[in-house]
Subunit: 311 residues, 2 copies
């Protein structure tokens, strides 16, 4: 296996939309820059948190074009390239690889239900063979609550074995530590990069060979999450983990994406950020106020530097 290029705190970047519902490229680029500035190791743009599937393929490609044109390093990007069709997935991947993206995050063909492992294997294999690029580094995106189609331990092993230079990692958004642990036990030792899909499992993951996390709440808490990543072998690790878990648990009492957008809107003083695309619903004003109050109650504030500046 080649060495996989990502580690640390990766953020599935929220996508801002204008009042009329179009992707807001200006705010998007500025926010990506800010996240890197906060210490994000990579940007998993176009994930579930990004409302990626609420954008057409061409909208996603246009945002990536803009990001790269404005100088955000493509090597730090892991765009989501999931699609239900081999052809659309392949064209999204070709576009990302063409820009030099460090990797891509790959959903299974999520419209389908009750497919066999063989069918999902054939789908991924067909996509990889259609792209046919030695530069492709693919991360499998296991998120059964959304897709109902798992990348199970055995299927992952088959894909690694067939495409050792290409299938180099996985994001586990099952929310099930036992599943993450089974994947880590099976494949972390080979250099396969496994990222829990929530920072709640960051420390446990690192202790079992994980390489970081790719987490929605990274949009609003890179510094906190990085502290765990940087200090995971120290005596403070558990206390630091408890702190970021508390923030995450507070946020996820609310619908995740609308809540994160409200937090960004509030702490960046930019109300436009609250906009979501249907079928998501904007968080109501009362709920938003309750969320912000909950966060302030546990001492949360946005960003390390802001916190330090205020101290």
């Amino acid at each position: 296996m080649v060495s996989q290029p990502f580690a640390g705190v990766l953020v599935p970047v929220l996508t801002p939309f204008t009042a009329s519902g179009e992707p807001d490229a200006g705010r998007f680029v500025a926010f990506c820059r800010w996240l890197l500035d906060e210490g994000a190791d990579g940007l998993a743009i176009f994930g579930t948190t990004s409302e990626a599937n609420s954008m057409s393929a061409s909208e996603r490609m246009a945002l990536l074009d803009r990001l790269v044109a404005e100088g955000v390093p493509a090597s730090r990007l892991m765009p989501g390239t999931g699609a239900c069709s081999i052809t659309e997935a392949a064209s999204l991947i070709r576009h990302a690889v063409g820009h030099g993206c460090g990797g891509v995050l790959m959903l299974p063909p999520f419209y389908y239900k009750g497919m066999t492992d063989q069918g999902v294997y054939d789908f991924i294999a067909a996509v990889i063979e259609r792209v046919a690029s030695p530069a492709l580094r693919m991360y499998l995106y296991h998120i059964p609550p959304q897709t109902m189609i798992p990348f199970g331990v055995e299927l992952v092993g088959r894909l690694i074995k067939a495409y050792p230079e290409t299938v180099v990692g996985l994001k586990d958004s099952s929310g099930d530590w036992n599943n993450t642990k089974a994947l880590l036990d099976a494949y972390a030792g080979t250099g396969f990069g496994i990222f829990p899909g929530s920072e709640v499992f960051l420390l446990d993951g690192l202790r079992h060979g994980g390489v970081g996390c790719i987490t929605a709440s990274g949009n609003v808490n890179v510094p906190g999450i990085r502290r765990v990543y940087e200090n995971w072998r120290t005596p403070q690790a558990d206390a630091l983990q408890a702190e970021i878990t508390r923030v995450r648990m507070t946020i996820q009492k609310y619908p995740m994406v609308p809540a994160l957008k409200r937090i960004v809107a509030h702490f960046h003083d930019d109300p436009a950020w609250a906009t979501v695309r249907p079928p998501m619903e904007r968080l109501g004003d009362a709920q938003s106020a309750a969320l912000i109050a909950d966060l302030e109650k546990i001492g949360y504030s946005l960003g390390e530097r802001r916190r330090e500046a205020a101290e």
Copy 2:
């Protein structure tokens, strides 16, 4: 409400793929013509049975272009235009309306789970407003086994009320007669066109104000299904329904789409038809032989005219 333009037997047309996995436009056009010739009242191309979500938007549009270019009447077409993004759904619909298609079949944004009725309403409303065409006739596609997002009775009512000229019908693929009946009781009287998603419910549907069915097995049994549609008020209706139900039940013991493709391959003497796109799996030879034997056992043969010619 405007009068909705479809009734009778609609077929969600299977999509043929070449050996290398590309949509086979020639076979597709020929098959569409054959279905109309067999008596299909309309062609719901790009449905679930069509592996529509295994094709990119541009592949779907190219097939529709070709179909219309070759003279298949657009008024008889109800293409599936489902997509998870408002923008892609709107561009598929604009393309279909531009060709003069009789209607479009509209999935909810199926990547998402646990969305509210308000969110789904906002999605459909945004698509309709983005298309902004008085020529659009939209049929809602209720298929919770695939989407997990229902078009429930109340939500359907809200959409009809808001867009009476546009939201003119529904395909109910819940497989739950109680749901179909609830929809029929609520809206059939207003001229809203309700199609069960299986011919198993055709007669029951017609007796409660339904207007036909849109059914996968229409790909291989238009004449049988039409006999029920044409004779539903006669004393033979129940016996005719029992006959098509028997055929359907025989087929659906197997994975539906691969099985239908094998039936077409066998009875049209065209092995190329057996090809599916991953994640679906081609039906194995032994299973296919068992399926054909099962069908022959119950006296099934392909097409009314062939049957009569053989008698």
